[in-house]
Amino acid sequence: MSKITGAEILIESLRREKVKIMFGYPGGVLLPFFDKLYDTKEPRFILTRHEQGAAHAADGYARATGKVGVCIATSGPGATNLVTGIATAYMDSIPMVAITGQVMTTLIGNDAFQEADITGITRPITKHNFLVKDVKDLANTVKEAFHIARSGRPGPVVIDLPVDVQKNSYEFHYPKEANIRSYCPTLTGHKGQIKRMAKAIEKARKPILYVGGGVIISGAEKELAELVRKTGIPVTCTLMAIGAFPGTHKLNLGMPGMHGTAFANHAIQDSDLLIAVGSRFDDRVTGKLDEFAKHAKIIHIDIDPSSVSKNVVVDIPCIGDAKEVLKELLKDIKKKPDIKNWVAKIDEWRKKAPLRYKNDDKLRPQYVVEELCKATKGNAIITTEVGQNQMWAAQYYTHDKPRTFLTSGGLGTMGYGLPAAIGAKLGKPDKIVFDIAGDGSIQMNIQELATAVQNKIHVKIAVLNNCYLGMVRQWQELFFKKRYSHTFLDTCDSPNLVKLAESYGAVGIRVTKKKDVRKAIERAIKTNNTVLIDFKVEEEENVMPMVPAGQAINRMIGGMA
């Protein structure tokens, strides 16, 4: 067998993993790899303007398609610039392989130029990482990295690749399977536990399904829909699970937790059976832990054993893939629980405290999101930044399909939305992709406008511009006597977002009046270019309802009286 270089082995291995697209930024120690890339059509390489943009784009691609996202950056600062993107993917269990260049093996540990111990740095924010010291290990490492990234509870994997390993040659043999003796995720649930779950569900009088991102990851939306059809149990989808169950369904209660709906939170608190599927009892969902669903028996289906009984003690745990477990569970449920009164009670709560805002003649951010939903018929892929824009997007855009709402839930990374939109658009070119942004967070990765324009990746951006770091300002208003310490951005004057968009070769539109919202959105959709709409919204609008930090989730500001 003839030998090929490490750089060629890497490209060939990526092809074997069916990687169609990768995002990144070149640099000194990656020169051998980029030289081979010069003649490579597939995988297609997208040059971002910052490594963080590359990581988020790979993440957005992964969330939109369910495939492994791939990003690549050079050693030292290139690699450390990926860190926020890797941590973002880790917190939300997103399959990603991040490849970093490294200095020559003989120089590692010598404080060489552009050297950083990236395996050390990323250890706590990756599912696993590798430093490849010998070219003969490279193909195997890539195989294992992809296997680890996409299986079990997915997550990011870093491959650190020294420059000499890219240059050295070895016979290429790509393994058929990754064989890792210490890694074998449990997929099928325990039969006995599934039977116990079925019994508990049949007997329940006030059950609620608390669904998390795991349902989307495992592709269990059909099984979930079938479970609801069969039992009539109402559903609350966390931020990560938006789209796992149709938003237009009458049994969908919306989001639970801090900015969830009052009726979802009351339903959780009053329930006698809480069925958690692929969710992890995050503090933004549970609020005060010892008050959380304290009358309920708790079922927890999750692929990660360490998620079970971590925050809340679980009565019936079941380790396994959500899709597999739900399939079995459906077979074991023989009769519909008697929950008519319960559903009626929740409907009453819904009428008493619906999701609402003051819909007057002012330009309010919630209205913009609602119009965006109408104009795209709820069919767009929405990415968000973090803060008020994210919560309004979650509350007022109704998603019926999974993998259409992409947001940094766990880490809460500002600057995620634009690069993620670029990744999503490349993964789903037929979809309209909108980044719902704030004027603060859009500026964190604004440079990726150039990536979108250069590569004709036509994403749309709706900036809910309130001239503030809105969510922090909201907390300052409510809990710090309106002392707006360093949250005023004055994005009214600087930068001029319309001109900024135009300077990148994108289209900029400014909207200051309510009556112009729909027109602007429709124009953005029709325009065959990247478009940024600068919505000058009410400056001091708040996200409501709201559970103050550390409170029980039924004690909401703007909730039920």
Binding site: R123, P124, I148, S182, Y183, D304, S306, S309, K310
Partner: protein, 161 residues
């Protein structure tokens, strides 16, 4: 908080110990002692760790360790019939006045004397925690200058025919 002994079998690769210690510090778990060495299979290392935790934290420690790709197996030796040993090296103060009494005590303990000087005696002791702690109590009045302990190692006991 109680003490628990875990035997953790891991891939014998660089960086594995860093993954484990990193996990403990990141999640705020406490390690009381740690002993690492190769096993009968050179591709596998065995880490014997004593952790202080309550039942709930112990559960998380085991689950989080299991999540690490390089961790092959975790054996909780706390509840099991296990034999545990520790080596301790101790330097004790000694002068002409205390010499006879100290040597008598050491002789009663059957402690192995490794080195002797005018001012001190250095001994080795092997045993389980109870034995070593009892011995330290007996030696304290003489003045302990330095103690070096290996941390506990443990193996499951196989007894009977």
């Amino acid at each position: 908080m109680a003490k628990f002994i875990l035997a953790v079998l891991v891939e014998n690769k660089f960086g594995v110990l860093a993954r484990i210690s990193g996990l403990f510090s990141a999640r705020g778990f406490n390690i009381s002692s740690l002993a690492v060495a190769e096993t009968e299979d050179p591709s596998v290392s065995r880490i014997t760790m004593v952790v202080s935790a309550d039942e709930k934290i112990l559960e998380q420690i085991k689950k989080q360790l299991n999540k690490l790709i390089d961790v092959i197996k975790i054996i909780d030796l706390t509840q099991k019939d296990c034999i545990d040993r520790e080596i301790v090296l101790i330097r004790i103060k000694m002068d002409s006045k205390t010499q006879d009494r100290l040597m008598q005590v050491l002789d009663n303990l059957s402690a192995e004397v490794l080195a002797k000087s005018k001012n001190s005696v250095t001994i080795q002791e092997v045993g389980d925690q109870k034995k070593i702690n009892a011995m330290l109590e007996l030696l304290k009045p003489f003045g302990i200058l330095e103690i070096v302990r290996t941390g506990r190692i443990a193996i499951q006991a196989e007894k009977g025919e």
